[in-house]
Assembly symmetry: C2
Homo-oligomer: 304 residues x 2
């Protein structure tokens, strides 16, 4: 059966329509039925329409009956909408098989849906940045997305950096959650932050200097969130400007510090973040984390 993908814009304005059109063409070429929300190109200041417009777009997506609802892009805009999202309607759509897919600013939506309803959404690509690229879309990203759409995906794997392979094999189960670190940190202490115990937390960010990454991780630490996780998976932290006065302070300094703060293992290199090669991850799903040597797997299929 042809899968139906609904495209919507809950955050920043689409600045280049050609990117979105190219992405839509690519998805159609893959055989999907693609529907554009009526406000996909709406504009209000830096946003894809004013708050009411973007909120209505979310609710139209939830009511669309689509198999997959995919964001055009992230940016900023979901934070202000959180109190007015009809979470029960979103959860009902998810219960009927809908998969919401996105990243970055969309983490606010995903985290709030998890906190309010426990429903599973997908951390994955955005239409523009991932399918709208001028060259070919990344093949791993595309394969993971196709698995997600078809419902055939059962997990994902990646290679750890050599020094992380030294530990004993790991085999544990927990609730996978996370996404963009800045968005997660901005929800600490609010009703939109889920209380995940025994979780597997994954994090990524962009444009954030390592000292800011550290400050945000410190907030999760001091709020008691990190100590409740069974494992922490770090995706990519990209596109920040090192300062001449860093003098050896770098992202790795933060990772080393983090390992000294938590008992849970911290693994890096998760293929997720503001990078072309990104996997799709079920936010809120019970998953199985297996690490042996340099091979790490997150599994959510029926057979794991």
């Amino acid at each position: 059966m042809t899968q139906h993908i609904y495209i919507f814009s809950p955050s920043s304005v689409v600045r280049d329509k050609a990117v979105i059109r190219r992405g839509v063409a690519r998805l159609r070429a893959l055989g999907y039925q693609v529907e554009l929300d009526e406000a996909v190109f709406a504009t209000h200041m830096r946003f894809a329409g004013d708050d009411e417009t973007r909120l209505a777009a979310i609710h139209r997506a939830a009511a669309s009956g689509a198999d997959v609802c995919l964001i055009t892009r992230g940016g900023y805009g979901l934070t202000r909408l959180l109190p007015d999202i009809r979470y029960k309607a979103v959860a009902k759509a998810i219960d009927n098989g809908m998969r919401f897919v996105g990243l970055s600013d969309f983490t606010a939506f995903q985290t709030a849906v998890l906190a309010q309803t426990g429903a599973v959404t997908w951390a994955g690509p955005a239409l523009g940045e991932d399918f709208g690229v001028e060259g070919e879309p990344d093949d791993i990203m595309q394969a993971c997305f196709e698995d997600l759409v078809s419902g055939q995906g059962e997990g994902t794997g990646w290679q750890l950096p050599r020094p992380e392979a030294a530990g004993a094999p790991i085999d544990l189960k927990g609730q996978l959650w996370g996404g963009n670190l800045a968005m997660l940190a901005s929800l600490v202490g609010t009703p939109w932050m889920p209380k995940v115990k025994g979780g597997i937390l994954f994090l990524e960010d962009v444009h954030e200097h390592p000292y800011r990454v550290e400050r945000m991780l410190t907030q999760l630490l001091y709020a008691g969130i990190l100590s409740h996780q069974k494992a922490i998976l770090l995706g990519h932290f990209t596109n920040y400007k090192p300062a001449p006065h860093d003098k050896g302070y770098r992202l790795q300094t933060v990772v080393t510090w983090l390992r000294g703060q938590v008992k849970a293992p911290v693994f890096t290199n998760l293929p997720f973040g503001h990078v072309a090669t990104k996997v799709a991850l079920p936010v809120g799903a019970k998953v199985h984390l297996a690490v042996e040597g340099r091979d790490a797997f997150v599994l959510w299929g029926h057979r794991h």
Copy 2:
């Protein structure tokens, strides 16, 4: 009696010693006895010494018997130290008359001291940025600092923008608290955040785009902090880069939005932040806020 000022570095490394020496000379010319902590120029990566060094500097300051302990500069570095600060020793020194003075990253210290002990510290200048300038230090900044050191200060006043003068006169009392918004937001949900009810909250920031200011205010809002304040005073939000795609979204947009979210009055133009003209404000003190026409006053003297 000659007032004794102790200079210490709890955050980022001093990058230009000449700035600090100029600041020290200026304070000595004002008649103060100035003592430099032994680690004032310590260096560890981007920090003024490693965590133990900076922590020891804070504790030496608290044990110095000085009248005023003034930071060399802000930057980043206090966050990681918060669990290991000996708050009782700090509060005892304050109880004996010591005034801790600083801003920016120092907000973490001030907020944590307030949360843990209720003791009052001072949001005010930093030695380098304010007294170490090449030209003359700002005269309002200097006058407020001298009032603070002598203990003669009884309050501060400023002019509101014309549109804010339209409301009925305001006359209320509450606990003054606040400082750097990014630091405050990063403490939400942690043990270092005080639960101030009926407070008067002041905020400033630097290098933060209005959308980030909005996101941080939203965190304070969703965490229930803003609804417990009797008034919100906005200082200066400076030195961010507007984006070409902001399309009319600016700091004023955020202020207008904020006014729609809280019942408490929101006043701007407070002379505080990363600007030369900054007053000194007692963080944690019971103060009196009076507004009539364009004139706003925060008073903490005995006669108010």
